[in-house]
């Protein structure tokens, strides 16, 4: 592979950032974890090294022990976080929290805590289940989507 070397980095000073690393050798011998990290960057899968904002709340919402009342509170909190979000990433994190809370209430407690009919969530849940495949959040949405598909079949 042709890759430009940076062989003569400037001397470092206290008030200057360190010189950039020479990546030539690193790219000649990309390791499995490096390739995997870059494939994750290019795929639609969540990057484990960069979890979404509010992950602590999202994990709490996804927990099997969280009660319906707590899930309602988390859903309302998600609305507030989405309104206050400083950027798109934080808004998406808040939206994920909202949907996890609603899906968890449906799957764990058979409760509908959103005004939107659950059957209308099916396509979204399929999408989130695929994106988070292999993660507890993916399993939660897989379960929710399967239940909604079953509901559709019976109606």
């Amino acid at each position: 592979m042709k890759f430009r070397g940076k062989n003569t980095p400037p001397e470092a000073h206290d008030d200057q950032p360190p010189p950039p690393r020479d990546w030539t050798a690193a790219l000649e011998a990309l390791s499995g974890p490096q390739v995997k990290a870059l494939l994750l960057v290019a795929s639609d899968m969540p990057d484990p090294s960069s979890p979404p904002p509010h992950m602590d709340l999202i994990e709490r919402a996804a927990s099997e022990t969280t009660t319906v009342e707590e899930l309602r509170e988390l859903k309302e909190r998600a609305k507030g976080l989405a309104k206050e979000a400083a950027d798109g990433r934080h808004r998406e994190g808040a939206q994920l929290l909202y949907h996890v809370a609603v899906a968890a209430a449906f799957v764990r407690h058979g409760a509908a805590i959103s005004g939107r009919p659950m059957r209308k969530q099916h396509a979204l849940y399929e999408e989130v289940a695929a994106k988070w495949a292999g993660h507890p959040i993916g399993a939660l949405f897989r379960d929710a989507a399967d239940r909604l598909a079953g509901t559709k079949e019976h109606t």
């Binding site: 592979m1 360190p18 990309l30 390791s31 499995g32 990290a37 494939l39 290019a42």
Partner: protein
Amino acid sequence: MDRDEQRHPNRAARAHLQFPSTKWELLAEASPQGEQSAAALNEFADRYYLAVRAFIAAVARNPVDADDLTQRFFETVVLSGRLLTRVDRGKGSFRPYLKQAIRNFLVDEHRREARSVHPDIRPDGVDDGWSTIVTDSSPAPDAELLRAWARSLVGMAVARLETICRENDQEQHFQLFTQRYLADPDHPPSWRDVGAAFGLDEKIARSRAETAVRHFRVLLRNLVASDMGSEKGIDEELHAVIAVL
């Protein structure tokens, strides 16, 4: 310079970064009759040499044999145009076709050597040698090929990303990208630490690296799509590769 060129001054310079729309076009151009034979052949080798070698090495289990056989495969099957002339372009994904071509080549090689007085290929002391080993699809060589192919494509995409960033005066964006994703993938540095190394705050470091990420996504996904001949199923393909890494 027309308006479009004024708005996108680097577009012409990037022409060499455009890929053939499918691997079949690339292969056609790499054939002896192809119009851009040398460049296309280089690209074909960049994409598949490591993958072919990994597949052969997993079968041969002898590095010397693997190097010789890989070289001979490119000479007798790729450079000669045989790989192209026997292709059925309607059969979709290229890798199964490539694997079968390698298997056939290895069987031919074994038979050819078996007929010679001093065979220099050692099919690991197995009586029927390559023909019994390589005719069936074996998960180990398949996985090795997939890993090596992914490594080649990722390496190509990173090298092309550096070119694009340099053309756009975004060399720091590229450095931030590599610092974040290549320095220590098992323990990636925080955005604060990535930025600090360049005298940037966390938000600016992240924003610049994400510009490079967007370029990288397009580059790698285009490479995968051109290998598959379609933009459909790119994520499934990426998931399959990630699963074997």
